[in-house]
Amino acid sequence: MLRYFLKRLLFLIPVLLGVSVVIFSIVHLAPGDPAEVMLGPSATQEDISNLREQLGLTKPLYVQYGIFLTNALKGDLGRSIKSNAPVIDEIMERFPATLTLAMLGMTFAIVIGLPLGILAALKQNTWVDALCSFFALVGFSIPNFWVGLMLMLLLSIYIPILPSSGFDSWKNLIMPMIVLGIQTMAVIARMTRSSMLEVIRQDYVRTARAKGISDRLVLTRHILGNVLIPVVTIAGIYFGHQLGGVVITETIFSIPGLGRLIVDAIRAQDYPVVQGGVLFFALCVGIVNLLVDLLYAVLDPRIKAQYRAAK
């Protein structure tokens, strides 16, 4: 088990290194630079080159990358060009909002999606199934910024019970949670349904039933555990997806999260913040995937057994 864990952890290193190279190249090879954005249309060439010099942008690219990498290894991601604050501070200041949002969105997705899928499978080919499937299809198909605006119209203006933007109380989180979670909810519901239908037809389920075990016990003991494996995989993948979706949600609801930080930084060509932010995102996704893999091993005894055998 520990070996499994360590192996997966080691995999993170080349991934992050790769991400750092890619993001560094994209940011620096894209046209325009922060000096131009900061100084605006009236800047003279002299102003621009002076600022460029100050920002250390005149050094050769590989030198800049080397500096970036060595500092990053020491936990120093540099200072924001726009605000002059340490990038790591900016990220840490914004991360709690994003993490809260992503977790809530995932919780919403699982709490609603899982029962919906189970219900649909148990009542296969009835109107309940049709309704659940329709709900899941709609949830997957509608663009989430539209859901956001409609919710806002409904819950902030027509029935004014929720604030439409900001990050001051739990009330601010309800609409963003739904917007962020709705697509994953739909995916989980559909995945659960098909996975359930598959498992229900397995021999061991039939055997259990034949032994006279109650439907309820069959469901909880024999079916759910096996259903969960693909669902966890999907949830893990979609968690990364959600961290990306956070950008839109944070913009609509004006939440001071990491997604907005990065988008604003891209607009301002604030290189250190873009690099640091994306690298941090990659680290988060990597860690989530690692956790999902571990959870896998817990859920699926076959994986554990594999590693035991290898020992």
């Binding site: 325009g32 630079d33 954005v37 009236s42 800047a43 100050q54 920002l55 200041e93 806002m152 439409s164």
Partner: protein, 502 residues
């Protein structure tokens, strides 16, 4: 009894004054959160708005863009190169430090110091020395006679800072500390979310009526509107979406604000690219485009066709000016024929991806097609458009110009040939225009100066290295509660005079 009556009256009166003890809180939403509150290190309008409430300048502009005293009570020019400012006495910074001439010297030198890398350094380019003659007198000497000096000193980039406050905060200045002499004090900033300011009870013009100001950054137009309608914010000071303005103006729950903006939108032409070197072709393009139609379609009627290179609210705009080029496609065809392009030609219009600019480019494309000019549109990243057009872009380009509020800032960077390679993106050299602009910069007598700029505007319209387009309007809205708010043409509106009705 009589003895006590006055005491009683005094008590009642003082109670009555105490009653409005509710904290007057004004909540505004801008498009973005601030990037820093260090005036010497920012260049965005959203930070500028917050900076304007915290800091003071030597001089300021009023809502008509006329220069008014701020920290300097009066000033004079002993000679053409020297500006002497007499400072207000008894002013205190928010940290309790007294404001003196040394703060002015420190601030100006900090802006000019290359280590500060201040985007605003360009405003003080002509300054050779700043000297504190005594505690309340400052002498600024310029390299050459520089009439726009006063306007430069009104800019938020040239706000007056306190040296002790800056060195005490170190690298955190602007994010965790911001100390000025303005009507509001900095309290806190939660990054990406909001800035909180509170009333400065010691403000030299007396305390503001509002106790707390909250500036929020809400990037989505729709969300900003919902917040206004649901009571989450009180005021949207500018950047109100054009398409929604009519609705809100009709609704009697809200107050709306509408003024001409300092900025103008135009399509520049790189005159080094064929056939834009030919004045007849450029004129033809100016006649070919129906600007009013673009105002109506893209800006929902909130704007006017340009009356020349300057917006009407910029100091030095010639009020006698008419529409630069009224829509006249026949004349356009005639001019094209005269220039040898009876069958038109192919060209590219470069634009960034902002909806309004892109839509305007599309309409221009359609109007040019009517006179036989086949234009295609190419979209670019904003900073790429800036740098490519500075080096010489292969055709026309959509750009706006805001300037400094003074005719010099509106014309010299854009039309003077010394700025070819940077802000003269038309790469156009006209000795006549150069001479007029230099004369305007050097003429300290404001009336004589106006005449020089009137002539320059006429000349630029005649030579037209660009297609004049539109002067936009600035739009804002608030709830009825907000009283006394004025939108300023430079998009930086002070809140000192704003009051809140119960």
């Amino acid at each position: 009894m009589k003895k006590y009556r006055s005491v009683l009256v005094a008590l009642v009166v003082s109670l009555a004054f105490c009653l409005p003890a509710f904290a007057a809180e004004l909540r505004l939403a801008q498009v973005a959160d601030v990037s820093s509150m260090d005036p010497h290190r920012v260049s965005d309008i959203y930070s500028a708005n917050v900076i304007r409430q915290i800091y003071s300048n030597l001089v300021q502009v009023d809502e008509n863009m006329e220069i008014v005293p701020d920290l300097a009570e009066k000033w004079e020019n002993p000679d053409d190169l020297t500006w002497v400012f007499h400072l207000r006495k008894g002013v205190k910074f928010h940290n309790g430090e007294p404001f003196t001439a040394s703060d002015v010297k420190y601030s100006m030198e900090r802006i000019k110091d290359p280590k500060t890398a201040s985007p605003g350094a360009t405003h003080l380019k002509e300054v050779v020395s700043v000297e504190a003659v005594d505690d309340y007198t400052v002498k600024i000497v310029t390299r050459r006679p520089f009439a726009p000096m006063l306007m430069s000193l009104t800019r938020y980039e040239t706000s007056i800072l306190n040296e002790k406050a800056v060195s005490a905060a170190g690298a955190d200045y602007g994010s965790k500390a911001a100390v000025g002499t303005g009507p509001f004090k900095f309290v806190s900033w939660s990054r990406g979310d909001k800035v909180i300011l509170e009333k400065n009870a010691d403000y030299f013009r007396g305390p503001a009526a509002i106790d707390t100001v909250i500036y929020r950054g809400i990037p989505e137009d729709a969300t900003r509107l919902v917040e206004l309608e649901s009571g989450g914010i009180d005021l949207i000071p500018g950047n109100f979406p054009y398409q929604e303005f009519e609705n809100i103006a009709k609704n009697d729950k809200y107050l709306t604000y509408k003024i001409p903006a300092m900025s103008t939108l135009y399509m520049g032409l790189n005159t080094e690219v064929k056939p834009f070197g030919d004045n007849r072709v450029r004129k033809a393009m100016n006649y070919a485009v129906d600007k009013q139609a673009i105002v109506d379609a893209v800006y929902f009627g909130y704007g006017t066709p340009s009356r020349g290179p300057l917006s009407p609210v910029i100091w030095g705009f010639d009020p006698e000016r008419k529409d630069a080029y009224p829509y006249d496609p026949d004349k356009a065809r005639e001019l094209l024929k005269e220039a040898g392009y009876a069958d038109g030609f192919d060209m590219t219009i470069f634009s960034d991806n902002r909806t309004e600019r892109r839509s305007a480019a599309e309409l221009i494309q359609a109007y040019l097609a009517e006179v036989g000019i086949r234009a295609q549109i190419e979209l670019m990243e904003w900073s790429a458009l800036l740098s490519t057009s500075a080096k010489g872009i292969g055709g026309g380009f959509m750009l706006g110009w805001t300037g400094t509020g003074d005719a010099d800032g509106g014309l010299t960077p854009v039309y003077h040939s010394a700025n070819i390679g940077s802000s003269n993106r038309f790469r156009y050299k006209s000795e006549g225009i150069d001479a007029l602009l230099e004369k305007g910069t050097a003429t300290l007598d404001q009336d004589a100066r106006r005449k020089v700029y009137a002539e320059a505007q006429e000349r630029i319209v005649e030579e037209c290295p660009l297609v004049f387009m539109i002067s936009q309007q600035l739009l804002g809205a608030s709830t009825k509660k907000v009283q006394g708010f004025k939108l300023y043409p430079n998009m930086i509106s002070p809140l000192f005079a704003v009051t809140l009705a119960e």
